[in-house]
Amino acid sequence: MLLENYLMFVAASLAFLVTLGLALARALMGPTVYDRIAAINMFGTKTVLLIAVLAFLSGRMDLLDIALVYALINFIGVVAVLKLVVYGDFHSSGKDITKPVKVDQR
């Protein structure tokens, strides 16, 4: 691989490391539980992108499969956490939090 091309993946992955650090700091500090969940969601997205860049950095395209799996697992994990936070249970009701719910408290 050309040195210039190599360097651009290096630059992108360094930028991702900075972003990961900032997101980790928010997850550690985050005053509310939702701040933490949002930070972890961002962390997951950044990890997916970092893995995609690493695939090109090391020239191993099978790493892209892992990036795909991560994108899905991140989504499922966050929605599972939210369901627990809202209902305190995984099966307390058949409702889905993504469905519209009536406004009761304002």
């Binding site: 050309l2 210039e4 091309n5 651009m8 993946f9 630059a11 992108a12 360094l14 930028a15 991702f16 900075v18 972003t19 900032l22 997101a23 700091a25 928010r26 509310t32 939702y34 701040d35 969940i37 949002a38 930070a39 969601n41 961002m42 997205t45 950044k46 997916v48 992108l49 995609a52 860049v53 695939a55 090109f56 395209m61 892209l64 499969d65 990036a67 795909l68 994108a71 899905l72 991140n74 989504f75 966050v78 929605v79 939210l82 936070v85 809202v86 939090i97 993504t98 719910v101 408290q105 304002r106």
Partner: protein
């Protein structure tokens, strides 16, 4: 050559946009406004980075997988953000609103 310069631009600007979004989640005052900063990294940053990588990959299976990753992010990230905001509102977390509230707004 032009493709290389283009992907240089895309990757570096994508990294910078990601850093700006991460700064945003520290700068904004409350959870709801931080979501907007987190949205930057989900949309524009992912678009720039994956586009830059697609340019480097060329037309093959790797490019298809990158497009697929982008589609997953494109479909799941708004769902996650909405579910998160909805959950926060239902738990009673009040946003720091600046001037008009919902009730004032719906009257005019």
């Amino acid at each position: 050559m032009i493709i290389d310069i283009l992907s240089w631009l895309l990757l570096v600007s994508g990294g910078l946009v990601g850093i700006v979004g991460a700064v945003g989640i520290h700068r904004f005052p409350d959870f709801y406004s931080r979501q907007h900063a987190a949205g930057i990294t989900d949309t524009l940053c992912a678009m720039l980075i994956l586009l830059g990588l697609v340019l480097q990959a060329g037309l093959n299976l790797a490019a298809f997988k990158l497009v697929l990753i982008f589609m997953f992010l494109f479909f799941t990230s708004p769902t996650t953000s909405h579910a998160l905001a909805n959950a926060a509102r239902h738990s009673g977390l009040k946003p720091e609103v600046d001037s008009t509230t919902i009730e004032d707004r719906s009257r005019d």
